[in-house]
Symmetry: C3
Subunit: 188 residues, 3 copies
Amino acid sequence: MSSVSSMATVILVTGGSRSGKSDYARLRGEALEGARAFVATCPVVDEETAERIRRHQQERSPDVWDTIEEPVKLKEVILGADNYSVVLVDCLTLWINNLLHEAYMSGDAVSEDYVVSRANELLEACSTHHGTVIFVTNEVGWGIVPENALARQYRDLVGRCNRVLSAAAHEVVLVAAGIPLVLKKREP
Amino acid sequence: MSSVSSMATVILVTGGSRSGKSDYARLRGEALEGARAFVATCPVVDEETAERIRRHQQERSPDVWDTIEEPVKLKEVILGADNYSVVLVDCLTLWINNLLHEAYMSGDAVSEDYVVSRANELLEACSTHHGTVIFVTNEVGWGIVPENALARQYRDLVGRCNRVLSAAAHEVVLVAAGIPLVLKKREP
Amino acid sequence: MSSVSSMATVILVTGGSRSGKSDYARLRGEALEGARAFVATCPVVDEETAERIRRHQQERSPDVWDTIEEPVKLKEVILGADNYSVVLVDCLTLWINNLLHEAYMSGDAVSEDYVVSRANELLEACSTHHGTVIFVTNEVGWGIVPENALARQYRDLVGRCNRVLSAAAHEVVLVAAGIPLVLKKREP
């Protein structure tokens, strides 16, 4: 990995569902100068998802954000985002869901090591970027152990991915009830 | 809404199930002077709930708290609570549950906008109160996405309601393992 | 209970699943001098569990930690751990699970009072220990109410146990995305 000085400022925003993570991340991005890319990892699979996407899109002015839809190839998007000062990826949990889906379709299993290596690829892509990359993720492991084996695996993978990003991030923010709690902050 | 100076001090206490939220909120109320009202939003629907209510009641001295049971009409209770210096509403999550139940019984759907407008009504009622209004709520969105569509909607609505209250509250406290973590505090 | 001065330093480490709690607790223990015991409360009930145990074991050098496997009798283990300066119990949630299982097998019910008394026994055992006892536990109540009655009881019992330990602990640390957040700290 490149030295820290050449790396994009990486911000990880995490929190429960509907905690205000996405709004917070968007406002952080809008407080920065320059062109901004919103990377949506969410494939439209049902009407509920479509409605959620519509609502989020209405909150983002097209004058302020360009939207890039990419469910899986996040590394490539970040590597190709030289024109943008701010890249906001929303969100990593859906990305992991999409990795699982892709693997399932091709008959492959997804290991923790695989997710770790994919997460590290994202950080390597960030290390070549000149601006700020903001990742939104979810806390998914604060309930009881799910009965469903796939759900258990999913929360394991999300927890692992969050820790990889968090360890390298310049800033980690936990959002609860709309209020940011800075867990970690170091100078870029 | 009235100016902040005429508004009751609003405290939002949130946290996971059995985190000590209710105990913390009760102690905050008991640390204040004057008459105190405990507003129970919990309709007794089963023996498990009844037992939980009994246990909570035993912890509240009737010399210290008047209990008002009201599953739905919280705005009206707050508007009529002029005789009390402290109003403790426990809890908003059950209130939302009751709103959903009421709507279901009358064949209506409950939108996020509806919950936001009901939450804003609570804040408007608080703006006419002279004392302190403490709301207890729950964090419900830190697990995996529920398979049940109603559960998904419920956690969306709770998350939204919490953010409306939190944005206006003077103080927001997250309780974990019995320990309060102040997320936000401004002078009344 | 003995006076605080004769009590082991008690550290409670909590957080969601895969948040980095165990790693953090292990590093805390390794930062202390003297012999170290790792108390595994996890009975090997299935391959998924076995795999998780193997992974955790690989992270613990046998030169640095002695492993003691004990699913239920934690008080006895702590009382007999005079040879160790550091006792790390991982984790209380599995211990409560094992208490529930034991009671179920003998046809008994497990009440909150029972768990509170068992948790207090752990603290009493700590009060006779000369070193540091680190307990790892889980946050399990931040999701929606489980449909399963046993799961509801389990999260109630875990919440209650966490609060008993937390109230007495010298230090309580919440770990999220691998980052420790100190909720409470007092001098030993």
